[in-house]
């Protein structure tokens, strides 16, 4: 309380005085003192690991040999990764997994947000409900869905049988249904998040344009295509990019539910990295996989960004 009073008095005191150039900014080292705690920590726990991931990716090393056993191998790991069928199979699965789950999560989120943006009963409660899966740990989510999708007695297949389906999917027990099952879970847990982000974008959408369009007799689809879609385009790009990065890097759900199986049916590239690093202890190789994937995603990100440039309503 006292502090806000100080702020008030200070701002009131200002107009009567002459501004002097030398008091408008403090000495240079003061700023450094303020950022020092954060900067030291960021350097120690993010920047140094970041630099060492580059170094690690060019070396051969395993835990047993200790730090002295580290050997520089140049670009060998990268050559190895790029000619490794296991890596490319995992990449293909990642493309399928991310390529389906991310656009669906984004589009369904937009639909949900547009529905929630209307005058409907219990809007606030609905928004909380759809957002809920996003705040629950992936372990609980994984365990719940693993049992829900139990092929013989799980609730999902009970419901499908109830709908008259005779050949129900084997989900995580089947090499064909493992990825689709993961996609279903990804959409369920992510759509509330995308809807929430879209909702705040929709509330900034230009009301006067909708009124003008309605007066001109524009239909719902025309209004969506010419006003809503361009005005939420930056949000769409943001969501696509961040969700793609997330989907290409996360391996928690897979480590928990399928361990990449059955066989290697759900071994996506992030899990392949995890396996190489923390199960086979090939740290250099794992670091190289991580870097190749990240650069790949980065290029995709840049392409996405370039493709949408100039098409937004706000540009």
């Amino acid at each position: 309380m006292t502090a806000t009073t100080v702020a008030h008095e200070v701002s009131v005191a200002k107009p009567g005085r002459q501004r002097r150039a030398d008091v408008s900014q403090p000495k240079g080292w003061v700023g450094w003192m303020f950022i020092a705690p954060n900067l030291i920590g960021v350097v120690a726990f993010t920047l140094i690991p970041l630099i060492s991931v580059v170094a690690l990716s060019m070396s051969k090393w395993n835990l047993v040999s200790g730090l002295g056993g580290i050997r520089f191998v140049g670009l060998d790991n990268f050559a190895g990764v790029l000619t490794d069928p296991g890596f490319w199979n995992a990449t293909l699965r990642t493309v399928i997994y991310a390529g389906l789950s991310v656009p669906l999560t984004v589009l369904l989120g937009l639909g949900l947000a547009m529905a929630l943006n209307r005058d409907i009963p219990g809007r606030a409660a609905l928004r909380v409900i759809f957002f809920l899966p996003y705040v629950v740990t992936v372990v609980a989510i994984g365990m719940i869905w693993l049992m829900l999708m139990n092929p013989s007695a799980g609730l999902v297949n009970q419901a499908l049988r109830g709908l008259g389906l005779e050949q129900v999917p084997g989900w995580f027990a089947s090499s064909h249904w493992g990825l689709p099952a993961l996609i279903v879970i990804a959409i369920w847990s992510g759509v509330g998040y995308t809807a929430t982000i879209y909702l705040s974008a929709l509330q900034d959408a230009p009301t006067h344009l909708y009124e003008a369009a309605a007066m001109d007799g524009a239909g719902a689809w025309t209004r969506f295509r010419t006003i809503t879609w361009p005005s939420v385009l930056p949000t769409t790009v943001f969501l696509l990019v961040t969700l793609f990065i997330g989907a290409s890097q996360g391996f928690g759900l897979i480590a928990l539910i399928t361990a990449g199986g059955p066989g290697d049916a759900t071994t996506v590239v992030s899990y392949y990295m995890y396996q190489n690093g923390f199960q086979f202890y090939r740290f250099g190789y794992a670091a190289a996989i991580g870097m190749v994937t990240f650069v790949g995603v980065l290029i995709l990100t840049l392409l996405t960004w370039r493709a949408q440039r100039g098409r937004s309503l706000h540009d």
């Binding site: 100080v6 702020a7 200002k14 008091v23 060492s52 835990l63 730090l67 005058d119 809920l132």
Partner: protein, 300 residues
């Protein structure tokens, strides 16, 4: 930024003119509301079904978990499942304590360091500031999973592997938190500081007495985000923790299941329920601020 009511603004966007709206009777209006509301509520029920199933199964004996057709109300209700996960062989309580310990340090550390750094990046001028900020920007898009391998090696060398500090330290000094705080301080007027300086206030006083009190809503939002991230993180402890005594909650949940999910449905779901409760309370009490933080860390 501080306009937390933004998501609750009444909708004015329906494409109807004012005259049109006046003509519509109350009954038609209600019907129209429910024409959209009903399908959405049905969808919401479907969305909640997995959590309802979790609650239901948490009160079942293992033999009843997969009975077809499913019984939503367990009979008899096996309340002892909760007792078992709390004080039984694989008790969740130590992991609960670890999770609280980790979250407390991460939230406090991130709030302190991010607020100070965000303030300096926004409100103070100093040589090299923009260069450092550029490095921060470049670091912001690095996914944490890419850093897992080097962090593992690094913490091994520092002797911090398999210690809760391996989870705490990287979370105390974050680039994202600094961004969030910087965005807030950038929007504050510079006149406060100039005036205070002329009155002879020191830089620390200007920060702590003038600007910090204004930042409490944003700090609350950042604190909630940091808590939820810390509480739910599974991949980091999976890689950096091996001793069950150092398990955080997400790791300890896996004690109740294996790859086939076969060990114990009732106990696994009771444990999941217990682990979700704290984050659920935080989320439900502070959901507006939470959602506000989500939307602001993302865009704008």
């Amino acid at each position: 930024m501080t306009d937390i009511g933004v998501l609750d603004r009444p909708v004015t966007r329906t494409a109807t003119s004012a005259a049109d709206r006046k003509r519509r009777t109350g009954r038609q209006r209600r019907l129209r509301r429910w024409a959209w509301g009903l399908p959405l509520w049905l969808l919401a029920v479907l969305f909640l079904a997995p959590f309802a199933w979790m609650l239901s199964t948490s009160l079942k004996r293992n033999v009843d978990a997969y009975v077809v057709p499913m019984q939503w109300i367990p009979d008899p209700a096996q309340w002892s499942n909760y007792l078992t996960v709390l004080v039984g062989e694989n008790s969740l309580l130590p992991a609960f304590g670890n999770s609280i310990f980790v979250a407390a340090f991460r939230v406090a550390g991130e709030l302190i360091t991010a607020t100070m750094a965000g303030y300096a990046f926004a409100r103070l001028k100093f040589r090299g500031r923009d260069k450092v900020f550029l490095i921060y920007l470049a670091t912001a898009i690095i996914p944490s999973q890419l850093l897992l391998v080097p962090r593992f090696v690094y913490f091994q060398q520092l002797g911090l592997y398999d210690s809760l500090w391996a989870l705490i330290l990287p979370g105390m000094f974050t680039v994202l938190g600094t961004f969030l705080m910087r965005q807030f301080f950038v929007s504050q007027p510079a006149e406060f500081a100039e005036a205070a300086r002329m009155d002879g206030a020191g830089e620390w006083q200007i920060f702590s007495r003038v600007y910090l009190p204004l930042a409490t809503p944003v700090m609350a939002a950042l604190g909630i985000l940091a808590f939820v991230w810390s509480w739910n993180d599974y991949e980091t402890p999976l890689v950096l923790i091996s001793d069950p005594a150092n398990y955080t909650l997400p790791l300890s949940l896996t004690n109740f299941t294996d790859e086939q999910g076969a060990i114990s449905p009732g106990l696994a779901m009771a444990a999941s329920t217990v682990s979700i409760i704290p984050v659920l309370i935080v989320f439900l009490l502070l959901q507006r601020r939470f959602i506000q933080a989500m939307t602001h860390t993302g865009i704008k």
